[in-house]
């Protein structure tokens, strides 16, 4: 026994790692692999998680609600979900807390064919819009409509499966679809290069949070340092992906089979625009601004799906913030 631990200690010294075995952790993604997951893979490839003593497994997602559920049930340590979904889950008794935002500007967005002649939010009046049922866009839509003085009753919502959004627009069954900006590549693939029009909601007066990293409150009690280490490694990945998007995409396409590298890479500039902002340059990547989080909770609560009000300090904490700043 003693010899074994001595040898382990030696091995630890030799690799300049802490002697303790790496913490095994699982990251539950929000959705299948899109360009905004590339920073995680560059961090894996460059060994940032290993340096922090984390043996990270990344699991493909099936929607924000599913991720929230899995982290609450302890099937994953870290999750990525929409902030509105996380606060809804908390209101229903899930033991979750958000610890960083993925995007400082939410990617909520409307896509349409360029030929649809939609130039500003008001042009959506009288249109049919495909939205997966109770997708976060549905929750935010009343607020977006009111900011832009759109009469909600004059816009028709059509339920579609998330995978069917592009096809139903391509087939002219509907005029537009609410979908995250990060899906741009898929839209170009279906509608044709240069044929995709879009309006980013954040550009039209809706300051809210979208995707966030969150944990189970058990982890906060048991191993809060792990959260800090995870975010540091992850945000180093974002910093590097910001500096060299192509290398980040290579890291992901090498690790995950079946991805369209070119299409995903094409969306990286927009993704970086959402993540790297004046605020993240000042406070570090992933920093949560209390005011915007409060607004996000208020809008979600107004949507009527939360079981109770969730307080700000219950919803999130900046205590584990990485303070990693972008290089440019």
């Amino acid at each position: 026994m003693r010899i074994k631990s001595f040898l382990l200690g030696l091995a630890g010294l030799a690799f300049a790692f802490p002697a303790a075995a790496a913490d095994k952790a699982t990251l539950q993604l929000n959705w299948f692999h899109l360009a905004d997951h590339a920073p995680i893979y560059v961090a894996l490839k460059k060994g940032y998680y290993a340096e922090e003593g984390i043996d990270l497994t990344v699991v493909r997602g099936a929607g924000s609600a599913d991720s929230a559920k899995k982290v609450d049930l302890g099937q994953a340590e870290f999750g990525i979900s929409d902030a509105p979904t996380v606060v809804t889950a908390i209101s229903k008794g899930a033991n979750l807390k958000m610890v960083a935002v993925v995007f400082d500007k939410a990617g909520n967005n409307v896509f349409f064919k360029k030929s649809a002649n939609i130039r500003e939010p008001k042009d959506l009046i009288g249109k049919k819009i495909a939205v997966p049922p109770a997708d976060s866009h549905r929750v935010l839509w009343p607020a977006f409509a009111s900011v832009n003085k759109i009469d909600e009753s004059k816009v028709t919502m059509v339920n579609v499966k998330p995978e069917g959004k592009q096809a139903i627009v391509a087939a002219n069954e509907v005029d537009a679809s609410f979908d995250l900006y990060t899906s741009y590549a898929i839209w170009e693939k279906v509608l044709g290069r240069g044929q995709v029009g879009n309006l980013l909601w954040a550009d039209y007066g809706l300051p809210i949070y979208g995707h966030t990293y969150f944990v189970n409150t058990d982890l906060i009690a048991k191993n809060p340092k792990l959260i800090e280490r995870f975010l540091r490694a992850t945000h180093k990945g974002w910093r590097d992906a910001h500096a060299d998007p192509a290398a980040a995409m290579d890291a992901m396409t090498a690790a995950v089979p079946g991805l369209d590298r070119e299409a995903l890479l094409a969306t990286m500039p927009q993704i970086m625009d959402l993540c790297i902002t004046e605020r993240s340059k000042k406070n570090g990547i992933g920093w949560i601004e209390p005011e915007i989080m409060q607004k996000t909770i208020d809008i979600t609560y107004a949507g009527g799906k939360m079981d109770r009000v969730v307080k700000l300090d219950e919803a999130f904490s900046n205590a584990y913030s990485s303070r990693i700043k972008p290089v440019r």
Partner: protein, 271 residues
């Protein structure tokens, strides 16, 4: 057990009902105790409602007006009935065509088998592109899922007429049409009802698959919404209604079978 001793047609309705109640008592008891076990497990293990609600919580959701149960139920009901009727007609018609001519059988049957192996869940999103969304496309999707057992069962039934019987009536110069109406079709009835029973449950699945892909209302639409907003009691309430709908449709088929082809029904317990 009905059909064992009570073979005489003059058996009173009351006695038949009592026999039926006795027949279904064990399964009713099992279902009830399953609900009880579920209720107890949720309460004793303190399962969060959004992970798994108790059956009582799900049942109570049926009283909430904001889910517009009647509108959503009727939407799904139309799609289910539509798929059921269309599958029945299409299934029997195709089976007749297949059995009518050996050449047709060899040509069509492999295509049907091929079509049936395609996972309709994967095809459903394409139906939305081709046909749009709403009750009609859902009927079509339901039909693609439910018609196959109709065809196979009916075809087997039509082909399974006793050869001696066929030879006898041929010797008596019966026309093809007469053979069909008097021998083959009555002989196929029990098989057709087996097909209808499968059709009844598969039409329900088919309609829900359609609603999962694209819909403005319907129980399937509610389930998808509930999955995202974490309204799990509402999901289970929808599932209860869907099961009830499936059971009721199945029950109607069994009742009609008893009226139309009582001999088929009475054979069943002995199989």
């Amino acid at each position: 057990m009905p059909g064992q001793e009570n073979r005489s047609p003059e058996t009173s309705l009351g006695a038949r009902l009592a026999a039926a109640a006795g027949y279904y008592l064990p399964s009713a008891l099992v279902i009830l105790s399953m609900f009880l076990l579920w209720q107890l497990a949720v309460e004793l293990l303190h399962v969060k409602e959004y992970i798994l609600p108790s059956p009582l919580a799900a049942f109570k959701t049926l009283g909430k007006a904001n889910y517009q149960w009647s509108v959503n139920f009727l939407t799904t009901l139309y799609a289910v009935l539509g798929a059921f009727v269309l599958s029945a007609i299409l299934g029997v018609a195709l089976a007749i065509i297949i059995v009518w001519n050996d050449m047709l059988m060899r040509t069509i049957m492999p295509i049907l088998v091929l079509f049936n192996t395609l996972p309709k869940v994967a095809l459903a999103p394409l139906f939305v592109i081709w046909l749009g969304y709403g009750v009609w496309p859902n009927i079509v999707i339901g039909t693609t899922i439910a018609f196959f057992p109709m065809v196979v069962n009916t075809a087997v039934g039509l082909a399974a007429a006793e050869p001696e019987m066929l030879e006898l009536v041929r010797a008596l110069q019966a026309s093809r049409w007469q053979i069909f109406v008097k021998i083959r079709f009555p002989n196929a009835l029990p098989y057709i009802f087996t097909g209808l029973k499968l059709n009844a449950t598969m039409s329900v699945i088919g309609a829900i698959v359609g609603e999962f892909v694209a819909s403005e209302r319907g129980l399937g639409s509610l389930i998808i919404t509930g999955g995202v907003t974490m309204e799990t009691p509402m999901i289970f309430a929808s599932l209860m209604l869907i099961s009830a709908l499936g059971l009721a449709l199945y029950g109607v088929v069994v009742a009609v079978e008893q009226l139309v082809a009582p001999w088929a029904f009475r054979e069943e317990p002995n199989k």
